[in-house]
Symmetry: none
Subunit: 409 residues, 2 copies
């Protein structure tokens, strides 16, 4: 079974923006056994879009459109699809009720052009959107399916998973699929690949993909077979060997991110964490609290960005800061120590460094970061030098701090 | 003048890979005054590709293909283009000599299938490739240009810059381009569009694009004209009206993000900021410190995520927290007040809310966030209800807090 994806939006034809929805959709379609044979990106031009939809329907049994379902005049996907299919757009009382209820719930006034979102292509089924105003639409044609999805990923993804996936499963002959995901922190991609390439390269099933991003590597193994048990056995055979080779460098085997893996460890031990952040300014706490329920193991901390804050909020000795400089082992240790003390947490992590592009500390290169860790056993700090721009340095600092504590547990 | 880009390669139809060549090419084409009206991504399937090329030529005066010029059987761009144009592929002595010389220079043996790269579409001009074996091809048709470029960016980019750009300049009437970017916070996209659609819709030049993301809206105006001054005047005419309609809801006219705009305001006034974060856990400070040089106006703050931290780190009255609940006007005010007091900052922002998916506060719905602001003039707090998941609620809370302070300045 083959599908095409058409992404709609003039912003996707600018030098700044890339269509990423189609990557996620391709994964979902592949999992259903559907191959993506063509992707197109069009602007907010109704005639051009209608013609592209027409051609896609001629070629492919499944055509998925993303974007262009918003309330503005620019949003032409509904009109263009109706034009391509030679069908009318009909005002839907059901859609209007859903829209009105949504605005009432949020205590906002519905603007006149939101009415545009209450129009349904003749014969289409509504794909409900609990996360936005743009309903999706599903149109069954003889031997063809056309699906209209909203552009924002947080609207598109649940809509596809909750509605399109089960609806597509009914029409597509099913294959079984097993996926294993290992996540690894604390080693460069090239080093990891050197270790595990000899393990996975002999196999085309499972298919192995390695994705690396800012100190975080994901290893995806995808196996297909007639039954779920068979697919799982195929994935596990290679997965087991990879686990053996990487050991504790693997921090999660269920896809969960580092902060969640760390949180699960702390929760199981009934322990808590606090932070003291200088160059990350709050990113470490922000990342940790992205985990729902993190209040069970994360207490809080101090954003001691300005130099004076280190003494003022954490009570660090002024002379210690002056003598060692803010980016130093002594200050990293004192920050962690004080944060642990003042919050009463089991562990405290501290981050102090020069994120760049300039360095305010004489003799300290941008990218230099000290990470401190305090526990009942005492306090210590390690120095790291991260390459790249300000954003990358800060992101690596957060990742490394989380991994340091994980490894110590 | 309009162009289409077709990226060729089955790897570009996997969930992991995205076509980025087209972003770079779009920038170059825009700078030449050429608009990209459609992008397509196809796999290594000759018939399908030939049909896509044929359609593109029917629609657009300039068609650029990238990729599929390698030596393997999978590389079908030459064959597909010849098929689409009903032209022969001719063996080129010139190309073969260049290839042989290249292999000789690198001391490598030329493989048999490299011969495939010596074939030229009837009537095509060679675009030399000093960085690889795949020559580009330029085909002039009546009122149409078809360009074949190699896929690797380090081969494609110099080939386009050194050859295609000057060749295109000769046939394209030269246009100058001017871009204006306004960024807006604190209003939903639909409301903004209702205000400014009547202003920009009458104009096709400048072209207006609206990009919205988590409480942040960008308005891009791109104007073309014969001279730079004219283009600027065209963009400014519509830009001026939009500025008038939106007033202070526009926080930046140079593309800089909200935290940078706020920082510039504070810096100019010689004032400073501190934060006290509960449900955002540090995201607000993290975002503020993403601005290089933010230490000039951002001091730091408190991550009071756990309930006890509100009294322990900020010294809030225990009874006040108990009586009002952590998600309340009283607590938001007290947090801001104390953060300002303890840091000595001119302003303090506080955030306390239920980010979801569950609420720990009885009677408080997930998505409810109180934002407090303290200054010399006193302290106040406002309640907001943000829709969406945990990530979105927290992101909106940060954006809204920054915007509240900006508007008060």
């Amino acid at each position: 079974m083959q599908a095409e994806i058409i992404a709609v939006g003039s912003e996707l034809l600018t030098p700044e923006r890339v269509d990423t929805n189609s990557l996620w959709l391709t994964r979902q379609l592949n999992d259903l056994g559907v191959e993506v044979t063509q992707k197109s990106i069009l602007g907010d031009n109704r005639d051009r879009l209608a013609s592209a939809i027409r051609s896609a329907i001629d070629r492919s049994p499944i055509v998925i459109l993303t974007g262009g379902l918003g309330p503005t005049e620019d949003d032409v996907t509904r009109e263009a699809t109706a034009q391509a299919l030679l069908r009318r757009l009909l005002y839907s009382e059901d859609l209007m009720e859903t829209l009105s209820a949504r605005f009432a719930r949020l205590g906002r006034k519905m603007s006149e052009n939101n009415r545009r979102q209450a129009f349904l292509i003749e014969g289409a089924r509504i794909l409900p959107n609990p996360n936005g105003t743009a309903a999706g639409q599903w149109i069954d044609l003889p031997g063809r399916i056309v699906i209209l999805l909203p552009g924002p990923p947080r609207e598109l993804k649940p809509m596809f998973s909750d509605h399109c996936q089960p609806m597509l499963s009914e029409v597509i002959p099913q294959r079984s699929l097993a996926t294993l995901v290992f996540r690894v922190a604390g080693m460069p991609e090239s080093e990891l690949d050197q270790l595990i390439a000899p393990i996975y390269t002999p196999y085309s099933n499972p298919e192995t993909t390695i994705l690396a991003k800012e100190g975080d590597i994901q290893i995806h193994l995808r196996a297909t077979a007639e039954t779920a048990a068979e697919a799982h056995a195929i994935a596990s055979e290679v997965g087991g060997k990879i686990q053996e080779a990487l050991g504790k460098r693997i921090y999660s085997s269920d896809g969960s991110p580092l902060e969640a893996a760390l949180g699960a460890l702390l929760k199981a031990r009934g322990e808590t964490l606090a932070v003291a952040e200088s160059c990350t300014g709050g990113l470490l706490g922000g990342r940790v609290t992205s985990v729902a329920g993190s209040s069970e193991w994360f207490l809080g901390g101090f954003q001691v960005y300005g130099k004076a804050m280190k003494t003022r909020l954490l009570g660090l000795d002024e002379k210690l800061v002056e003598d060692n400089g803010v980016v130093s082992e002594a200050v990293a240790c004192a920050m962690a120590d004080s944060a642990r003390d003042r919050t009463g947490a089991t562990y405290a992590l501290s981050v102090t460094g020069e994120a760049g592009p300039e360095s305010a500390s004489p003799g300290i290169e941008p990218g230099t970061v000290w990470i401190g860790m305090a526990s009942a056993a005492g306090v210590s700090a390690k120095m790291f030098r991260f390459g790249g721009d300000r954003e990358r340095v800060r992101s690596f600092a957060v990742q490394t701090a989380l991994n340091l504590l994980r490894l110590s547990l």
